[in-house]
Amino acid sequence: MTLEPADHLSAMATGATQAPTLGLASAGESAELPPAAPGLGRRIRHSLRSDKPAIVSITLLVLLALAAVLAPLLAPHDPLHTFADGISSDGAPLGPGGKFPLGTDPSGRDVLSRLLFGARVSLTIGILANGLATVIGVFVGLCAGYLGGWVETILMRLTDIVMSFPILLFCIALIAVTGPSERNVIIVIALIYWTTLARITRSLVLSLKEREFVVAARALGLSHWRIMRKHLFPHLVPTIIVYATLGVASSILIEASLSFLGIGVPIPNPSWGQMIDQGREYYQIAPWLLIFPGLCLVLTVLSFNLAGDWLRDLLDPTAAERR
């Protein structure tokens, strides 16, 4: 172990403190050095080994993504095709089993195939809409919280205005103008959902910017942009990840409501939300219509949350140490 070069300084100590204790203390200070921080790759492997829920949820998300990408190969039938033998003689949908592993819907379409193709729609909308909302919200919140003054007033009043809109009415109005399509649904959901994150981010920034390291960064003369990027943003990441993963679920559900109103993903393309809404009407005679898409939605949302927790801990160097 090398001694600190500072030791020669301590020998000069006079006045208020007594010199003899200093050499000992400085040796003690340098005696217990923790090992250098491990690299990201090693931290990922290390933290996955001890975090069982994270392994399960990440595996699920990977499988889900594969299912969505490989839907045309995995699906036993065409999701849009109405089978004549998909409906019983009295016009009710068929239960799981046989030719249709997860049953059929009231129009005689295969539920499994629709679920697989629906995963594409729901995941795309959930992730993209929420990603876009997060980017907008964090940017607005950061600027408002850090810059303050009239920038804050304008941005936060804008947030209040958007928040005060009734969500569905706002969507209907926007989609009536732009026309229903997957892209427009994503944009509309993002335009509603950024407000919560903007407020959360702003309140976090307001307390962060009084911390000494941010004051120090300002005193150094760093640019506003760099302070926001390097000194504020990394400290927001844990909270953003938690809210963003929760938001994926909300976005998928909002898409369901829009589909229910006929202004979401154009019928007859399947999405989970649409399937749940349809299943709601038949849950007494055909519970599988509600159960399977509902189960998919719950598992997806749960996986996003657990994976988000894991990611938050992984990105926090102090949390990584505690494991």
């Binding site: 090398t2 600190e4 070069p5 500072a6 300084l9 301590s10 000069m12 100590a13 006079t14 006045g15 208020a16 403190t17 204790t21 200093l22 000992l24 203390a25 400085s26 200070e29 340098s30 050095l33 923790p34 250098a36 921080a37 911390r211 000494e212 390291f213 004051v215 120090a216 960064a217 300002r218 005193a219 150094l220 003369g221 760093l222 640019s223 760099r226 390097k230 000194h231 990394p234 400290h235 160097p317 102090t318 140490e321």
Partner: protein, 353 residues
């Protein structure tokens, strides 16, 4: 004072103090719709810091020490007065000019656990100073190593995160970050108060060492007079936002004229039995900023207070011992020791046990 003329130095900056503060006043609040009152945290504060010298500011919590430090570094805005640092009118600077000015003056903060960005390694924290100074990026690794060496940290520490370092080591990193921009003035706001006594002496020695080598001026803020005695050339005592006494460090300790200064010095623990002033305890607390007392702000707690103190706020005037003192009774302030029972109310209590 002898005027030493250095032929290498530019003529204009010859023996000009590097920091000149005139009548600096800082208010908090008072701008909102419902809260118009506000408080005055620093009132007409004036001082100079000569190049390569150290001014210490002492005072109890809420006396305005940190407010002054933050106002002259423009971390907060002030409301009146003039601050000249290295020839720049600090209060008039805006935007880019302000950012460029900041490299003349740097701060080291109190809390070593909060003053470094925990998401960056120690080396990256220091490199932020180099980014601010605008150097070439490829040189940064080398410069960071130099700076670590200068503050007495092993170069291998550059890859450590702040939470892996001790308080003293973090404070060294803070100092290295401040030095990265080559400042002429270093403002230390309670920079050693959170450290163990032994580590404290190391950091103080480091600062002294850097000052001797680079001629940096220090503004050192502390509530601890023994720390200031060790590092400061001049000491200013603040009370309720005002400087009540200022002078050379040895005179402040040898012949304090303001009763508040005397009380602070009496409170410094000293080894041995010798004690020039009885250990007195200041009763009560500093007055409320929302209801300032009439006259001298120290008057409600002062053993020497008379009618004139309750009516007139004393000005900071030169005393014959070389200090400047804001007290109507600066000449008979020794009465505290001479006749503790004279006319003194119970606000300073004897404790000779």
């Amino acid at each position: 004072m002898t005027a030493v003329i250095d032929p290498a130095a530019p003529a204009s900056t010859g023996d000009e103090p590097v920091v000149q503060v005139r009548e600096l006043t800082v208010r908090y609040g008072g701008r909102g719709l419902f809260n118009r009152a506000g408080i005055t945290a620093a009132r007409r504060v004036s001082f100079n810091i000569e190049s390569g010298r150290t001014l210490g500011i002492a005072g109890e919590s809420g006396s305005g020490k940190s407010t002054v430090a933050r106002a002259i570094t423009r971390v907060i805005d002030s409301h009146a007065g003039q601050v000249l640092v290295a020839g720049h009118d600090v209060r008039a600077l805006r935007g880019r000019g302000l950012r460029r000015f900041r490299r003349h003056m740097q701060m080291v903060f109190q809390d070593p656990y909060d003053s470094l960005n925990s998401r960056l390694t120690a080396g990256q924290n220091v490199a932020e100073g180099l980014v601010a100074a605008g150097g070439r990026r490829p040189d940064h690794t080398l410069r960071v190593r130099e700076l670590f060496d200068r503050v007495g940290l092993p170069v291998s520490f550059t890859d450590r995160y702040p939470h892996q370092l001790s308080g003293g080591q973090r404070q060294r990193v803070s100092i290295a970050r401040a030095l990265a921009v080559n400042p002429q003035v270093l403002v230390c706001d309670e920079a050693v108060s959170a450290l163990d006594v032994s580590i404290r002496a190391q950091i103080l020695n480091l600062l002294k060492d850097l000052q001797e080598r680079d001629g940096i001026s220090l503004l050192f803020i502390s509530h601890d007079l023994s720390t200031l005695r060790f590092i400061a050339d001049e000491i200013a005592i603040m009370y309720f936002g005002q400087i009540v006494e200022v002078g050379p460090a040895d005179v402040i300790f040898a012949d304090p004229r303001h009763p508040y200064t005397q009380a602070l010095i009496a409170a410094v623990p000293e080894p041995g039995a010798r004690r020039r002033y009885p250990r007195s305890r200041l009763a009560g607390e500093a007055p409320s900023h929302h209801a300032p007392p009439p006259g001298c702000p120290f008057q409600p707690r002062c053993p020497l207070a008379t009618e004139v103190c309750r009516q007139q706020d004393p000005a900071l005037l030169p005393h014959r011992n070389g200090n400047r003192v804001a007290c109507h009774h600066a000449d008979d302030a020794v009465a505290v020791t001479a006749a503790p029972d004279a006319a003194a109310p119970a606000s300073i209590e004897e404790d000779r046990s």
